[in-house]
């Protein structure tokens, strides 16, 4: 009975939403603020990737909140799972391919991760995408050797200082008499690697923070799983 009502309800909601959504003007959005941002952002922010201008400039505090959410989730997961010391040696190691493949791919993942972070203001990508790849780079060895552990103390230092530097860059602008998180420094040529003022710095902070946060989340989960 519950299942039937649930299905009926879900179907009804879907039908209603579809009816509403089909009334929308698909393919030609109003772009009230989108258009203005597109035309103003090369001068105001100076990043070739306009999504980056929005993420770090126009909606910078959203990104800060997002970092805080990741941090909160990682702290909460740490609280839940605790830090038990696992006994090494009892776990089965990964196979040959996983073990050596992981070691082989590690430097490439690092390079790609940092490349994506550094070019976040020029190409699709940025701190979040690059940070995820960094986390993967450090998590891969854990899969190959389940007993191995990440250095949580180093991770938490990176976590702390990457997050803090994002806010401190914002506060620096405030100290200069401007608004919090206002882009500073020289914008330079549009499309150059060193351009767009503080945006690349912010993205490096984001990338490190995301990488450290995800790595600690994943290693926490992996360790707890190997406890069982």
């Amino acid at each position: 009975m519950r299942k039937l009502t649930g299905l009926l309800f879900a179907g009804g909601l879907g039908f209603m939403l579809l009816a509403i959504a089909s009334g929308l003007d698909f393919g030609s959005p109003p772009m009230r603020i989108g258009e203005a941002i597109q035309s103003a952002s090369p001068q105001e922010v100076g990043a070739a990737n306009i999504v980056t201008s929005v993420v770090l400039g126009y909606r910078g505090i959203d990104t800060l909140g997002e970092l805080a959410i990741l941090f909160a989730a990682a702290s909460a997961a740490g609280l839940v799972l605790g830090r038990r010391h696992t006994t090494t040696g009892t776990q089965r190691k990964g196979g040959f391919v996983l073990f050596h493949g992981g070691a082989l791919i590690f430097p490439f993942l690092l390079t790609i991760g940092f490349y994506i972070i550094f070019h976040g203001h020029l190409t699709p990508g940025g701190g979040f995408q690059g940070g995820v790849i960094l986390a993967a780079a450090f998590f891969l060895p854990l899969l190959a050797r389940p007993g191995a552990r990440l250095h949580h103390s180093i991770l938490s230092v990176i976590e702390a200082f990457a997050g803090a530097s994002f806010i401190l860059i914002g506060l620096a602008a405030l100290g200069e008499g401007q608004a919090f998180l206002q882009p500073m420094l020289n914008q330079d040529t549009l499309g150059a690697l060193i351009s767009a003022g503080t945006l690349p710095l912010l993205y490096i902070a984001v990338g490190l923070k995301v990488g450290a946060e995800l790595a600690s989340l994943l290693s926490n989960l992996a360790q707890t799983e190997s406890e069982q």
């Binding site: 299905l7 799972l81 989960l221 069982q228």
Partner: protein, 159 residues
């Protein structure tokens, strides 16, 4: 192409379909881990809907290129929002899974009904209420909660 089936229809049906499948999954599944997975599906649908809100016909990604004839670009704001929403979703899912690991360790399994009953029993025990009335006693013997424990999540979905 079948007449009447336009690209927009397909996209909207996909986005809203994912949301509905996800919500229905949360309501209907009796296993806690499947509820998390269903939530992930629903979130994907909501994110797709958000991206669609900035889509423009024949427009390119909002990245300026070194050329004079810059074609029209899609709205950058929904893309930034969706990036935020995805990361938020990932954080919450990771937390949900880590909580599930602990629930599994403490309560032995992840069946929705059993976990809800054990939770009720534990709260009552820690509050010092004698539970001589079993959970299966007539409804009138139990504290009337606005949402009975084992259907609580599902009723939430009916909202």
């Amino acid at each position: 192409m079948i007449p009447g089936v336009t690209l927009e229809l397909i996209l909207y049906v996909t986005a809203l379909g994912l949301v509905i499948i996800g919500l229905a999954g949360v309501v209907l599944s009796s296993h806690l881990f499947r509820m998390v997975l269903a939530l992930v599906i629903a979130e994907a649908g909501a994110n797709l809907m958000l991206v669609l809100s900035g889509y423009r016909w024949d427009a390119v990604a909002p990245i300026l290129m070194q050329r004079t004839d810059q074609p029209a670009m899609v709205d950058p704001v929904p893309q930034a929002m969706v990036l935020t929403a995805i990361v938020i979703g990932v954080g919450i899912q990771a937390l949900a899974v880590s909580i599930l690991i602990r629930i599994r360790q403490r309560y032995g399994n992840l069946k929705r009904r059993e976990v809800a009953e054990k939770m009720d029993a534990e709260i009552a025990a820690s509050a010092g209420i004698r539970r001589d009335i079993s959970q299966d006693a007539p409804l009138g013997e139990r504290p009337l909660s606005p949402l009975p424990a084992h259907t609580a999540e599902s009723r939430g979905g009916d909202a």
